[in-house]
Symmetry: C2
Subunit: 127 residues, 2 copies
DNA sequence: ATATCATATGAACAGTCGTTCATGTGAGGC
DNA sequence: GCCTCACATGAACGACTGTTCATATGATAT
């Protein structure tokens, strides 16, 4: 996945001539995360931002599952599941092991599991 | 924002006739989050999945800022910032107060701040 | 009143996404 | 060998997204 948006530095002085709090601007610039981190995290969030992929991740946070079981449980085509898993794999959100013809997927580490669990906690608070 | 993907129930039996672990499928179905929660969280992740919006949220997690300061600090046009803030507002990720002509934005609660902080921790671990 | 400032918003366009369909791969069974 | 199964992948199409540009709003100032 490539970034969809690019910063436009030529706009940085579009506001400077107006009433801007220079302190805030400089402090914010100082605190900003490096572009690489921002891109990678945005890509991660965007990948989790698809309902089907999110369901897959949630399912894998509770059990190791093969493609066919995921498809059956979530009501998706095996092809769609495989495509989704590839996106998750490329961001190293899931890993898999092969056992004969079957590929068993699980989350790559606990970080992602916590992230999703926290997210559900957040949205479930708001009815 | 409307969901981009829809579950296709007619696929749920495409895999049942094959070698599926029925236990896993049933357990996964039982553990699945309600569709409403999935949709809302996916929307939230997708909204955080844009580099510019993510930078805005990160900036607001450190200080209350007006639109113009955000634009100046992030090198975006005020219009783009305003559009981004609207998306964040609609998901109640940010709130704002008006002071004369100026609109000061900040994060709506700590949940979102933690989510983003955890996310950066995660990606910064992987170089 | 007119002008300017800070922000909001609608339309529109190029770019991106996720699905389906068709096909490929590679292991097992006959 | 051939067939089937479980999965992977490429192409393609419709749907969606984020930006820019133009315009609107609403407050302050002169």
């Amino acid at each position: 996945m490539s970034p969809r948006t690019t910063a436009r530095p030529e706009f940085s002085d579009l506001c400077d001539v107006r009433l801007v709090n220079q302190r805030n601007v400089e402090q914010t610039r100082r605190d900003m995360k490096p572009a690489e981190s921002v891109m990678l995290l945005a890509e991660t969030f965007r990948t989790l931002g698809d309902p089907n992929r999110l369901r897959i991740v949630w399912a894998l946070s509770r059990a190791e599952l093969c493609v066919c079981d995921l498809a059956a449980a979530l009501g998706m085509s095996p092809s769609a599941v495989s495509h989704s898993l590839r996106a998750l794999r490329q961001l190293r959100l899931v890993r898999y092991r092969r056992e004969n013809k079957t590929a068993y997927y699980r989350l790559d580490d606990d970080h992602i599991s916590h992230l999703v669990a926290d997210g559900f906690e957040h949205v479930d608070e708001r009815v």
